[in-house]
C-alpha cells in the first residue's frame, strides 16, 4: 500500500507536469484545471500515506553498481513533509489560478511547480542518499526556473541564477556526504548508518557531518549562505509561498533532523549547528526590521524562523524543530499568499506605498493578521506552541547565551511583524485602487488560516508518528494535552511572552522611542547591505570574471603560439615523468 502511495505522490505530480506542458499555452483553462487536479490528487495520496507510515523500506529498485538500490521509506519524518509539500503545493496552485491569470508561459510555470512538488516529496521519502541528492538538485532546478520565470526581468534572472549557484555550491557538501557513505559502506542506504554511525571512520563521519551542515545551510538560506533568499522574491508570489517558505527551504532542516542521531556525537558539530541557526535567526530578524519590501520582510522572517529550527536541532530538540517546521510552513505560506493577494491588488511590493488597506481588504487583513500572530508567537496559534518548544529545547540542550539571543530575536520578530501589519493595513490610506482577494485566492488562504489556529492540536499524534517510525531519533511521545501542559507550566514560556510583549509595546510606542531608533540608524545601513555578505558574493563573481578575462590572452589566435603550447606541454610532461619515475 505504502509503495503504491509513494509512487502516486511523485508520479501524479510528474504526470501532471508533463500533461500541463503537453496541452499547450493556448488552452490555459485546461492547464489550470489539470494543475489543480494533479496537485490535489498528489496531496490526497500523501495524506493517505501518513496513515501507512512505517520504518521499513517499501520500494527497492536495484540500479546496480555505483548507483546502488533505489529505496523509499514512508517514515514519520518523510510523510509529513511530503504532505506539506503536496497539500500546500495544491493550495499554491489553486491560488495561482487567480494570481497567474492571463500570464504567458503558463505551461512552463505549472510544469515546473508540479515537477517540483514531486521532486520534494521524493527527496523526503527516499532512503538512498544518491536519490536524495538527485531530488535535491531537481528542486534546485525548479526553484531556479521559477524564480527566473519572468525571463525579461534581469533582476529575476539574476535572482534565479544566484539561488541556483549558491544552493548548488552548498550541495557539494551533500554530494561529499553521499560519496563518503558509499565508499565506506558500499551502499547509499543511510538508515543503517543512522542506526549505527560507528560503521563509518570517525574522520570521514566528521567530514560527512560538516558537509551536510554546509549543504543544509545553503539550501535553507542560513548563515553564511542566506543572500539568495531575499533575491528569490522576484519569483511569482505563490512560488515564494511554496518553495521559498513552506517546502524547499525546509530540505536543509530535514537533512539535519534526519541525520542527527548519526552526527550528534561528532565533535564540534552540535555547537556549529546551534551557531548557524542562532546567527541566521538574529541577523535576519535585524534585516527584517529595516526592510520596506513586503516580500523581503517575509523572506528575512523565513530565514529567521528556519534559524529557530536549526537551533533546535543543534540543541537536540528534533521534535520541537519539526513541530516548528510544520507550524511555520502553514503560517508562512499563509503570509506569503496573503502578501500575494495584496501585491496583486495594489501592484507594488513596497510597503511605504501601502497603508490603510484593511478597509477594502477585510478578508485578506483577517487571514494575514492570523499569520502574523502565529509568526510573532502569540498564544494560542500554532506558532506560539512550536516556538515555545524550540526555546525550551534551547534552554535544556544548548548554551544559555544562545538561548538569550533566540529570546531577543523572538522580541524582534514581534516588532517587525507588527511593523509589517501596520504599514500594510493601517496608517495613512494608500491612494491606489484596491480590491480584496479574489475567489481562488480565498479558497487557498482559508484552510491555511484555519491551520494556523488549530493545527497545533495535532502535536500529540505527530509526536507518536515520529516516535514509532524513527527508532534512532529518541523522540519522546507526548499527547497534545501533555504538550500543552508542558508549555503552560514552563517558566521559559512566560519569559518569552514578556519579551514578545516588549516587542509589541516598542512598536506601539515607537514615536516615544524615536531617540533609540536614531541611535540604531547605523545598524540599518549594515542590514541593508546584508551584513557584508552581498559584498562577498559580488567579489567572488567579479574576481572569477576577471580571471577568466585574463585567461583569454592564452588563446592568442597565432598559430606559432599554439604550436609553442604543444612544445611547452611536451617539455612539462617529460620533466614530470623523469622526476616521477
Amino acid at each position: 500500500m505504502a509503495s503504491t502511495l509513494i509512487l502516486l505522490v511523485i508520479g501524479l505530480s510528474w504526470l501532471g507536469a508533463l500533461l500541463v506542458w503537453w496541452v499547450g499555452d493556448k488552452r490555459s483553462a485546461l492547464q489550470h484545471a489539470l494543475a489543480i487536479f494533479f496537485s490535489v490528487a498528489s496531496g490526497a495520496a500523501s495524506i493517505a500515506l501518513i496513515f501507512n507510515a512505517s520504518s521499513s523500506t517499501v520500494i527497492n529498485l536495484d540500479a546496480g553498481g555505483v548507483f546502488g538500490q533505489f529505496t523509499f521509506v514512508a517514515d514519520g519524518l518523510g510523510v509529513y513533509l511530503a504532505a506539506i509539500a503536496t497539500v500546500i503545493g495544491s493550495l499554491a496552485v489553486i491560488f495561482s489560478v487567480n494570481y497567474m491569470h492571463g500570464e504567458k508561459g503558463l505551461g512552463r510555470y505549472y510544469a515546473m511547480v508540479l515537477f517540483f512538488i514531486g521532486g520534494m516529496a521524493g527527496l523526503v521519502l527516499t532512503s538512498n542518499l544518491l536519490l536524495m541528492f538527485l531530488f535535491w538538485e531537481i528542486t534546485a532546478l525548479c526553484s531556479y526556473a521559477l524564480i527566473a520565470f519572468h525571463n525579461d526581468d534581469p533582476k529575476a534572472v539574476a535572482g534565479g541564477i544566484k539561488a541556483l549557484i549558491i544552493t548548488q555550491l552548498g550541495g557539494i557538501g551533500l554530494l561529499a556526504g553521499a560519496l563518503i557513505l558509499y565508499s565506506q559502506t558500499g551502499s547509499y542506504d543511510f538508515n543503517q548508518m543512522i542506526a549505527n554511525p560507528g560503521i563509518i571512520n570517525p574522520r570521514l563521519l566528521s567530514g560527512m557531518a560538516f558537509g551536510c551542515l554546509i549543504a543544509a545551510a545553503a539550501k535553507s538560506a542560513q548563515f553564511p549562505f542566506f543572500t539568495w533568499l531575499p533575491d528569490a522574491m522576484e519569483a511569482p508570489t505563490p512560488i515564494s509561498a511554496l518553495i521559498h517558505a513552506a517546502t524547499m527551504v525546509n530540505a536543509g532542516v530535514y537533512l539535519l533532523a534526519r541525520f542527527y542521531p548519526a552526527f550528534e556525537a561528532v565533535p564540534g558539530w552540535k555547537i556549529s549547528v546551534i551557531l548557524v541557526g542562532m546567527i541566521s535567526a538574529f541577523i535576519s530578524a535585524i534585516m527584517a526590521l529595516f526592510a520596506n519590501d513586503l516580500k523581503r520582510v517575509l523572506a528575512y522572517s523565513t530565514i529567521s524562523q528556519l534559524g529557530y529550527m536549526v537551533f533546535a536541532i543543534g540543541c537536540g530538540g528534533i521534535y520541537a524543530s519539526q513541530f516548528h517546521l510544520l507550524s511555520h510552513s502553514v503560517f508562512k505560506a499563509l503570509l506569503f499568499l496573503g502578501a500575494g493577494a495584496i501585491i496583486h491588488s495594489v501592484g507594488t511590493r513596497d510597503m511605504r506605498e501601502m497603508g490603510g488597506l484593511g478597509k477594502k481588504m477585510p478578508f485578506t487583513r483577517f487571514v494575514f493578521i492570523i499569520g502574523a500572530l502565529a509568526l510573532a508567537g502569540i498564544p494560542i496559534l500554532n506558532g506560539f506552541w512550536s516556538k515555545e518548544l524550540v526555546l525550551e529545547a534551547g534552554l535544556t540542550g544548548g548554551p544559555v547565551w544562545a538561548y538569550a539571543i533566540m529570546l531577543i530575536t523572538a522580541g524582534l520578530t514581534a516588532f517587525y511583524t507588527f511593523r509589517m501589519v501596520w504599514m500594510v493595513f493601517y496608517g495613512k490610506p494608500s491612494e491606489k485602487h484596491i480590491h480584496d482577494a479574489q475567489p481562488a485566492m480565498k479558497v487557498a488562504l482559508a484552510p491555511l488560516a484555519l491551520g494556523a489556529v488549530v493545527a497545533w492540536l495535532l502535536a500529540g499524534p505527530f509526536a507518536s508518528l515520529l516516535q514509532s517510525t524513527l527508532p534512532a531519533h529518541n523522540i519522546h511521545p507526548a499527547s497534545t494535552m501533555e504538550v500543552i501542559v508542558e508549555v503552560i507550566k514552563a517558566p521559559a514560556t512566560y519569559v518569552a511572552l514578556a519579551v514578545v510583549a516588549l516587542g509589541l509595546v516598542s512598536w506601539w510606542q515607537r514615536e516615544n522611542l524615536a531617540g533609540v531608533s536614531k541611535a540604531f540608524k547605523w545598524l540599518g545601513t549594515i542590514a541593508e547591505n546584508s551584513f557584508g555578505f552581498e559584498a562577498v558574493n559580488k567579489f567572488i563573481v567579479r574576481e572569477t570574471q576577471a580571471t577568466a578575462e585574463e585567461l583569454r590572452d592564452t588563446q592568442t589566435g597565432l598559430l606559432n603560439w599554439n604550436i609553442a603550447g604543444l612544445l611547452i606541454g611536451l617539455i612539462a610532461v617529460i620533466i614530470i615523468l623523469v622526476m616521477g619515475g
Binding site: 555505483v66 557539494i172 558509499y182 604543444l566
Partner: protein
C-alpha cells in the same frame, strides 16, 4: 553472420559507400541541377543505418564469445569493450548528424563531398578503436584526421572557416609528427609494433629512456586531438567554424577517439601508474579550469559550446586518471559513461544551436556566427529547438534527471572509492567546476525563454522536421539515461575492463 564477417562489413559499408555517395551526388547534380545532390544525402543516411546491421551481429558475438580477432593480410583488428562503446556512440551520433545534415547542408556547394566524407570519418574511427598495432592505429588515426580537416574547412569561401581549418591541420599534423617519432622510438627499442606483443615486452624488460620518451610523444601527439590543455587551442576555432553537424561529431566522438588512441598507445609504455594517474588527473583539472573560465567570457554560442567540450573532456580524464591511479574500474567506467553522455548532450547542443543558426543565419546566406544575444525569445518561434538546447545545456551542467548527472556521479564515486586525498580533492574540484559551468549555461536558457524576441528570431525561417527529429531522439535518450543509467552498463563495463587490462598487465610484473 560470423564474427569476422560482421566486423569486415562493419568497416566495409562506410568506406565502400563513400565513393558511391560521391559519384551519385556528382552525377545527379550534373543531370538535374534542381534536385541537386539529394541521392548523396539519403545514401549516406542509408549507409550508416546499414552499418547498424553488422554492428548488431558484432555486438552479439562479442557479448557471447569475448573479443573478436580478425587478421586480413597486413590489417589485423580486435573488437573489444572499448571498440564496442566507441563504435556504438560514433554510429548513433553519426546517424543523427547525417540525418540532421540532409537539411542543414542542402544546397551547399560540394555537399556530395560532405556526405561522402562523413562515413569515411566514422569508418576511420571504428578502424582506429579496433586497431592492434601502432602503425595501423596511426593510419586509421590519420584517415580520421584528414577527413575531419576537410569537413571542418567545408565553407571554403569563408575566411574564418579556412583559418580554423588551417590551424587545426597544422596543429594536428604537428601532433602526428610527434606520434610518428614516438612509434619510431618504440620500434627502435623493441623491434615490435603489435600492441599485445609490446605489452609483453615492456612487462618483461627494464624501464628504458627511449620508451619513456616515446610514451610522452604519444601522450602529446594524441593529446592534440584529444584536446588536452595546453594542446587544445585549435578546438574553439574548429568546432565553431565547422558545419554544426561536424561540430557535434568533433566534440562528440572525434576528440574521444583521440583520447582512446592515447590510452591504447601510451598505456602500454607506462611504468608507474601513480605518476601517470597524477598526470592524467592533472590534465583533467587543467582542462576543467581552462575550459570553464574561457567559456564564461564567450558571446558566440558555438564557441561557448566548444570551450565547454574542453572542460567536459576534463571529467573524462579525471575518471580515467583515477582508474589508472587506483587500478579500480569505477573511474574508467565513469569516464566511458561520460563519453557516451557527452556525445549525446554535446551532440544535442550543437545540433540544436545548428538548427537555430540555420534558421536565423544560414537560410539567409549569412555566415556570421550565432551570438548569445540572438537567442532572445527563441522559445516563442522555435519551442522544440529551444527546449532541446535548454535540456542539453542543463544536462551538460550535470543537473538531474538528465544523463550528465549520472555519468559525472560515477566519476565522483570513483574518486572517493580510491580514497586518497588527491582523488577526493579532484572530485570536489570537478563538482565546483560543474557549478561554475551553470553560470554560463543558464543565461542562454533564460534568454531563450524571454517574451521579447530578438530581431534575428523575428526574421528567422522555420526549422524542418529533418532537423527536429534527431533532436527529439537525443532528448529522449538523455532523459531515459538520466533516470535509469544501468541501460548502458553492457557497454560501459567491458570498456572499463578493457582499459584496465592494458594498464594492469603492464604493471603486474
Amino acid at each position: 553472420m560470423t564474427a569476422n564477417t560482421a566486423l569486415i562489413w562493419l568497416l566495409a559499408i562506410p568506406f565502400g559507400s563513400a565513393p558511391i555517395i560521391y559519384l551519385a551526388g556528382r552525377i545527379t547534380e550534373k543531370l538535374s541541377p534542381k534536385t541537386g545532390s539529394a541521392p548523396s544525402r539519403w545514401l549516406s543516411v542509408l549507409a550508416l543505418a546499414g552499418t547498424l546491421v553488422p554492428l548488431y551481429y558484432t555486438i552479439m558475438h562479442f557479448t557471447s564469445e569475448g573479443a573478436i580477432n580478425l587478421n586480413v593480410n597486413m590489417i589485423s583488428l580486435k573488437f573489444d569493450g572499448i571498440s564496442m562503446l566507441v563504435t556504438v556512440t560514433a554510429l548513433v551520433l553519426g546517424l543523427c548528424v547525417t540525418f540532421f545534415s540532409t537539411k542543414y547542408m542542402q544546397g551547399d556547394d560540394g555537399e556530395e563531398k560532405f556526405f561522402a566524407l562523413l562515413p569515411i570519418m566514422i569508418g576511420s574511427i571504428i578502424g582506429l578503436v579496433c586497431a592492434t598495432d601502432l602503425f595501423n592505429l596511426w593510419v586509421w588515426f590519420e584517415a580520421m584526421a584528414i577527413s575531419s580537416y576537410i569537413l571542418v574547412a567545408f565553407y571554403r569561401d569563408q575566411a574564418d572557416a579556412i583559418e580554423a581549418g588551417v590551424k587545426y591541420l597544422v596543429q594536428s599534423a604537428a601532433g602526428s609528427a610527434l606520434i610518428l617519432l614516438g612509434i619510431a622510438l618504440v620500434f627502435a627499442q623493441t623491434g615490435l609494433l603489435n600492441l599485445e606483443q609490446l605489452r609483453i615486452s615492456v612487462v618483461n624488460s627494464e624501464p628504458s629512456p627511449l620508451l619513456l620518451a616515446a610514451s610522452v610523444l604519444m601522450l602529446i601527439g594524441f593529446g592534440v586531438k584529444a584536446a588536452l590543455v595546453p594542446l587544445h587551442t585549435w578546438l574553439p576555432d574548429a568546432h565553431s567554424q565547422a558545419p554544426s553537424g561536424i561540430s557535434a561529431m568533433l566534440s562528440g566522438i572525434v576528440i574521444e577517439a583521440g583520447l582512446v588512441a592515447l590510452l591504447r598507445t601510451a598505456g602500454i609504455l607506462i611504468y608507474s601508474n601513480t605518476t601517470w594517474g597524477y598526470l592524467i588527473m592533472g590534465f583533467g583539472a587543467l582542462n576543467l579550469f581552462v575550459g570553464n573560465l574561457m567559456a564564461l567570457r564567450q558571446t558566440q554560442v558555438k564557441r561557448l559550446l566548444a570551450y565547454s567540450s574542453v572542460s567536459q573532456v576534463g571529467y573524462i580524464l579525471i575518471g580515467i586518471g583515477v582508474s589508472i591511479y587506483s587500478l579500480q574500474p569505477t573511474g574508467a567506467a565513469g569516464g566511458f559513461f561520460h563519453i557516451i553522455t557527452h556525445a549525446l548532450m554535446k551532440g544535442l547542443a550543437f545540433l540544436a544551436a545548428g538548427a537555430l543558426l540555420y534558421a536565423l543565419r544560414l537560410s539567409h546566406h549569412n555566415h556570421e556566427p550565432l551570438q548569445v544575444s540572438d537567442l532572445d525569445g527563441a522559445s516563442k518561434r522555435y519551442p522544440l529547438t529551444a527546449f532541446a538546447l535548454s535540456l542539453a545545456l542543463l544536462a551538460l551542467g550535470g543537473l538531474p534527471p538528465l544523463a550528465g548527472f549520472m555519468s559525472k556521479w560515477q566519476i565522483f564515486v570513483a574518486g572517493f572509492e580510491a580514497g586518497s586525498g588527491l582523488t577526493i580533492a579532484m572530485v570536489i574540484f570537478a563538482a565546483l567546476n560543474s557549478v561554475l559551468s551553470l553560470a554560463y549555461y543558464t543565461p542562454m536558457i533564460n534568454r531563450m525563454y524571454r517574451h521579447e524576441p530578438s530581431e534575428q528570431v523575428k526574421a528567422g525561417t522555420t526549422i524542418s522536421w529533418k532537423m527536429a527529429l534527431p533532436l527529439v531522439i537525443l532528448i529522449i535518450v538523455i532523459v531515459v539515461l538520466g533516470f535509469w543509467p544501468p541501460l548502458v552498463r553492457w557497454m560501459v563495463n567491458p570498456a572499463a575492463y578493457s582499459l584496465l587490462s592494458i594498464f594492469t598487465s603492464v604493471l603486474i610484473r
